[in-house]
């Protein structure tokens, strides 16, 4: 399971303050803590902390990479912000671009641009692609699968390895009226997306979205994660510092025989990143 640590995001107060005062220490600490906790990638999102999003993205990347070699996941809805990040990031150990829809009203070619940026950044750069297009987020299973199929096909046409694709079927907050049905839709979509290519594209999800605004957030997140993993989810943007959540990741991997059992199976992620 590939965990993308979500904490370096300008939406969090501590990160926002660090960005505002150009204080590197809290950012570097979060990078280390998430790595030690088992994150395979660190999400980097400038949030709304600064007017200069491109410059802030670059500052965050450079700050993290001064002290940490964990691959980054550049997170922005703006192509220019991602592009600014790609310019300065070291992608030697890997990189994720997060994220592009299939297309946008304002930019029909957005998906192609992301693939180009990924190739530019290097062969270990992967792209998170949302199953959405200019019509917005799909509300049912079939539309999610149809969009995923188009994404995979388009990548193949461009000669982009499907294993470099992370398809995100988009988790919606369960508390939003009438959105509870979406959880089942997402799981059903996952069952089909994994057969769209051989080898299958990765599947990822913004896990904390599902519990947005709800009570018992950590519980909701980890139960949903276990369910989704059994439907083929092999990556998630999540809170790597939530120990209970990471224990669920390790246990699910083990129960699905993705990890060989050992008595310290809960430590597989933390010990691997420690050494």
């Amino acid at each position: 399971m590939i965990i993308i640590g979500e904490r370096i995001n300008g939406m969090f107060t501590d990160v926002k303050e660090a960005i505002a005062s150009k204080n590197k220490q809290p950012i570097q600490e979060l990078a280390k803590k998430q790595t030690d906790a088992g994150a395979a990638y660190l999400d980097v999102n400038v949030g709304t902390a600064a007017a200069d999003q491109e410059g802030t993205m670059q500052w965050l990347i450079e700050t993290i990479q001064e002290t940490c070699t964990t691959p980054l996941c550049l997170d922005s809805q703006k192509t220019d912000v991602i592009a600014a990040g790609v310019k300065v990031v070291n992608a030697e150990n890997g990189l994720l671009l997060n994220s592009t829809p299939l297309n946008k009203k304002s930019d029909e070619e957005v998906f192609d641009k992301y693939l180009e940026m990924a190739d530019q950044a290097g062969p270990k750069t992967n792209v998170i692609t949302l199953t959405m297009d200019k019509n917005g987020v799909p509300q049912d299973t079939d539309m999610r699968v149809a969009l995923a199929a188009e994404i995979v096909q388009k990548a193949m046409e461009k000669g982009f390895d499907t294993q470099r694709l992370f398809v995100d079927p988009i988790a919606l907050p369960v508390k939003v009226p009438n959105a509870q049905v979406q959880v089942g839709n997402i799981l059903n979509a996952m069952d089909q997306i994994k057969y769209l290519a051989d080898p299958a594209p990765h599947m990822t999800i913004g896990l904390s979205n599902v519990s947005q605004g709800a009570s018992e957030r950590s519980l909701i997140n980890r139960i949903f994660l276990a369910m989704a993993m059994s439907h083929g989810l092999d990556s998630a943007i999540a809170d790597a510092l939530d120990k209970d959540l990471m224990n669920v990741v390790a246990t699910s991997d083990m129960l699905m025989n993705k990890q060989i059992y050992s008595d310290s199976f809960l430590k597989v992620y933390t010990a691997a990143n420690k050494a």
Binding site: I260, S262, V268, A272, K274
Partner: protein, 318 residues
């Protein structure tokens, strides 16, 4: 109908491990050995995916063995009291890639020799040969914890492969190997779950996983080789699947296990063929079988078996 080409590609690979330190890296070895790196199963994929050739480590005992069958002992009668000369013979005459010093003589049930003896042997062998060394304890936890740290210190700077650590006894030697910058052998009793556990334990102590070589225990032909084979195979597949805790190169102990088999040593066995041939054949067959499951370093004893196995390796890993 043409035979379809079956190609499987994997995301993970076996760690690449380099043993030995030359003068440039602060040691006195004249050469280093690199093993591992495989990105496929043995015989699977391209030649590049097979990566580094497996190597043969020939056993040198710290004390004269008194239980070796004649067919084996006759090759070493002139050097058995001198580990340095013994090591030299293995390298110069028998083509060993590296030397495994097995500290049999420190075991309390055997010669019960002390740390000073073990250190002297280590120094002798280091002086006698320029290849990287494997330094292997007696298997008695208490005695190994007394002696092996001294052995490790005596070889400091040489980047040896030292072992073994087990689930129940790993702290002393792991800390020592870490301090002296050696590579470490993690040891499990033909049990993949315990194998992974030991790797997690040493890694949790801060020992770098990329400096670990695993020893799953070995069963000889007719004596559990199927268990050893399937565990090695599973380890390789886990490594290829990206399991960092199982991505180490593997060492196996073919020499000792093969020569325990009665087929190797029983002289009075009409119909079994010449006892002089049986042992080397048993040893070579065991080694070649395990090589196909995916092992990287094979400990061996008989020069004829070594020649056969090296010939096999050179033909398969080109």
């Amino acid at each position: 109908m043409p035979v379809p080409e079956v190609k499987e590609s994997f995301t993970g690979s076996v760690n690449r491990v380099t043993l030995g330190a030359t003068k440039d890296s602060g040691g006195t070895r004249t050469s280093t050995i690199t093993v591992g790196g495989a990105r496929n199963v043995v015989y699977g994929g391209s030649a590049e995916e097979a990566s580094e050739k497996p190597v043969v480590a020939m056993d040198v005992l710290d004390s004269r063995p008194d239980d070796w069958p004649d067919a084996l002992a006759e090759n070493y009668q002139d050097v058995m009291d001198s580990p340095g000369d013994w090591a030299k013979k293995c390298i110069e005459q028998f083509g060993a890639d590296l030397i495994c010093v097995k500290f049999e003589g420190i075991h309390p049930d055997k010669a019960d020799k002390d740390a000073a003896h073990a250190v002297k042997v280590t120094e002798e062998v280091l002086k006698a040969v320029g290849v990287p060394l494997v330094l292997w304890g007696s298997g008695n936890d208490e005695k190994d914890n007394q002696v092996m740290p001294k052995v490790s210190e005596a070889a400091k700077g040489e980047n040896v492969l030292i072992g073994t650590v087990t689930e129940d006894n790993y702290k002393t030697l792991t800390a020592t190997a870490l301090a002296d910058s050696h590579h470490l052998i993690t040891h499990a009793p033909l049990d993949i779950n315990i194998a992974k556990q030991v790797n997690i334990l040493v890694s949790d102590m801060g020992f770098p996983l990329e400096k670990v070589v695993t020893f799953q225990a070995t069963g000889a032909l007719g004596y559990g080789i199927e268990y050893a084979y399937s565990i090695q195979e599973r380890q390789r597949l886990a490594a290829l699947g990206g399991d960092k805790m199982m991505a180490m190169p593997a060492i196996c102990d073919v020499g000792y296990e093969s020569w325990r088999a009665k087929e190797s040593k029983l002289a009075d066995a009409p119909g079994w063929g010449d006892v002089k041939d049986r042992g080397p054949m048993w040893e070579a067959t065991t080694a070649i079988c395990l090589l196909q499951a995916g092992v990287d370093i094979i400990r061996m004893r008989h020069p004829r078996a070594v020649a056969t196995v090296k010939n096999f390796i050179n033909q398969i890993w080109q």
